[in-house]
Amino acid sequence: MKKFFILVFCVLWSKVLYSQEFRLSGKVTTTTGLPVKYVRVSITGQSRQSVADSAGVFSVYGLKPGQYEVNFIHIGYQKKIQVVVIGTTDVFMAITMDPWQHQLKEVGVRNKRGEIRRQTESMNIEVVGSEFIQRNLGGSLMQTLDRLPGINTIGIGSGQSKPLIRGLGFNRVVVVDKGVKHEGQQWGADHGLEIDQFAAGEVELIKGAASFLYGSDAIGGVIDIKPRSAPAKNTFGGAVDLIGKSNNNLYGTSANLFARQDHFFYDARVTYQNYGDYSVPANQVFVYDYAVDLKNGRLRNTAGRETAVHLNTGYIRDGFRTVFYLSNVYSKSGFFANAHGLEPRRVDTEMHDRSSRDIQMPGQEVNHLKLINRTEYSIAQHKLQIELGYQRNFRQEFNQYVNHGYMPPAYPDTLPIPPDLEREFDKHVYSVNLRDEFKAGKHLLTAGINAEYQHNRINGWTFLVPSFNQMTTGAFIYDKYELNDQVLLHAGMRYDYGRVRLFEYQDWFPSSGATGATGGKLIRANNLTRRFSSVVWSAGINYNPEHFVLKANLGKSFRMPIAKELGANGVNYHYFSYEKGDANLSAEQSYQADLSLGWNAKNWSVLISPFYNYFPNYIYLNPTAYHDYFYGAGNQVFQYSQSKVMRYGGELKLRVDLLKGLSSEFVGEYLYARQLSGDKKGYGLPFSPPISGMISLSWSPAFGGGLDDTYLGIDYRIAGKQDRIVPPEKKTPGYTVINLQAGTKINLFRQPLILNMQVQNLLNTKYMNHTSFYRLIELPEAGRNLILSLKIPFQLKTDAN
């Protein structure tokens, strides 16, 4: 199989064109690297001209040696003039075009870009811009994206959630922020994603195997968060966002200021959000059989705060750009006080109910610092890109000391760990990506290398995962070959190598019955070094005739086992589970086939995207029938093991324009997973979203009179029941929920105000979400929530051109 793909590569390579006359060719992209299609290319004083194709590629033939002035013109972009010298060879130019005006006009351009991306990638891609985020603003970026088919979240409370792409999440989804892989503590269901959704310019979601481009972990898919585009020349402006939510009494703001002269620009943003306990449509919930009364339906201690600071600055000139991104995202939030995980807790109700905004224990505090530099340099036929990144993810989980298992009844004051620090994870990550994109005839080749080094240390009075260091590196080549105007062929291959080193951990307390040199203190983790390597590949096709869309992709992905899977050996007391790693796990492999078939007509369109996925060795935390009395202190043993897993499913999207301005859309998703071997043969996988669909109607009337971009929408969401469960899950009944969205742009004295409103869960329906962290203790999802946001963009100086 491997040989076959090498062969395909060679064949594609060999078709590089050669011509007698000199040719000027090139590719037009936006500053973020996306192709700009149908750009008019003309040469001053010459009759020859050309129009770029759908991939942004153009060619002008029959040029004699000399100096030429080449003009690039396209609606929505600033005109670009570039001088080129033709010597004795063909010349390739990489051109970047800036959108005509910053931010205010961003929306239309973005939508178009998304469309282009979808048409030129054989993988299943969704692209959403900042407008989508604003209209569907959820408690976190992932909750906002939840509206897309095939995308779900594992949520905890109103402000934290992590992505699930077609039922795969945790370390099987890669989140890329500004070109660098975002690294937090992805393995925890109660850990959110440390991303400020207000700073996102565009989010690209790849559903399916993408390891050949993104390396280990990109088995389920990729969420690529792109920064807002650089301001246009000679501008100075900004925007202020104000947000309010009724359910958890959230108030927040995000303020942005940007400026650019000729080459230098800066872009700064500050976001602050403060929310109280969220409320559910119930005054009493049951933890096991024990009734817990809620004051005003509020889930005690689920309040939180979030602050984010971003500072971007860069230098842009023709063929060269370098941008530094500095950001710090901090959040502090509480966990529901009456039960943590499956553990019922006795609480001081009076203390908790004094304020719905205080954050007591149990709670978490996370700080994510990031410094990234992205540099891009175009020379001859090459576009070189470099990303350098440093991240520090610092997470602390607080809880009152409880002497679980063999821990001493009183917390020893000689211990250097603070008595309320249950767990701490301190992660430093250094990343380097190098990429070269070059055009050779009808081939667009991308070759690159990535390297990442992680340094992880732990603290706290409970133990789950040992400290570890990890190094991963990979090299890839990807060819996109334009067979003709309608057919694109893709082939990619990648080699990865990784090494993980786990460090010894010893309990701070003796366990009953344990003896030896450690005085009864158990050694939970031994020093361990594992090395992994893998070759992955991908091949695909795009066929885009006028109305019909066809995409097919076949790929192999892989994932290195994480430190927790190799070295966990502790009790997760919130789940009464003793989680036991396996030092001998092999790297997880996945084969996936993807298909997209669609038809676009004037008044309607349909897209169906089925997939099939097979894992020969899926890593699964298997709940066994046993209890462990030593390392596990009497808890049920959950053992990491590997089994064959088969998954299939798909999404359906149907849009019909009913009348002018009135359109209706249906999106649906279905997923089936089955373990084909091992202890849980016949069972599915945990956190599997049920079948669901959403019917929406949206109306965009043209009112005039100072109101623009007015829209009104209603979503009717139907989710089926989920009966395919694995321990310790519970069957979740189906539900229906109605959401409303509305918004408009008001022009007051030439100053636009953009107003967005949403009502989530309009009927205050009491339902449970199968993929919620709080599902196990039967907590209903949030009740009715009115969300108001106001955006005030301003331009203090605009480009006179």
Partner: protein, 158 residues
């Protein structure tokens, strides 16, 4: 009319998909095992009183629809009122106090392989020199497939 069909078809597709996906998985067991201490001779029950320096008989009925796994008992103090039981009744807690020498017992009891039902009947000795007060008597029962049922009883040791 055509447009109405468009609106209805997704609902139909969804309906069909839901119905297709029902069938084939009746084989997997999704039933939790049960701990039944409602019998008159079952002990301990919620709010039972256990005497120090004596031996009591732990008696409860364990059942599962297919096959029982293992059972574990964890007796630990609740002098700090950290958690509550899984049961409805509140037993009236003693004031919060500091543990000096609390009773701690973590033990498993074998269940014969292949059992769907098992009457646990075993003696547990409580030392005389331990701290009296509020305790939790936690029973954790698994079945062969890994479903776990937890019963957390509040008991008093005097």
């Amino acid at each position: 009319m055509r447009r109405i069909n468009f609106l209805i078809s997704p609902v139909l597709i969804l309906f069909l998909l839901t119905n297709c996906s029902k069938d084939n998985d009746t084989a997997t067991d999704t039933t939790y095992p049960e701990i039944d201490n409602t019998a008159s001779d079952a002990f301990p029950k919620q709010c039972s009183i256990i005497k120090r320096g004596e031996t009591f008989t732990f008696r409860t009925l364990l059942t599962d629809n297919s096959e029982l796994g293992s059972v574990s008992v964890d007796i630990h103090h609740n002098f700090d009122h950290h958690t509550h039981s899984t049961e409805v009744d509140d037993c009236g807690m003693d004031p919060i106090k500091k543990a000096v020498k609390p009773f701690l017992m973590i033990r498993d009891f074998p269940i014969p392989a292949g059992s769907k039902s098992y009457q646990l009947n075993t003696e547990i000795n409580v030392p005389a020199d331990i701290d009296p007060g509020d305790y939790h008597f936690m029973i954790r029962l698994t079945d062969k497939q890994g479903w776990q049922t937890i019963k957390g009883l509040s008991v008093k040791i005097q």
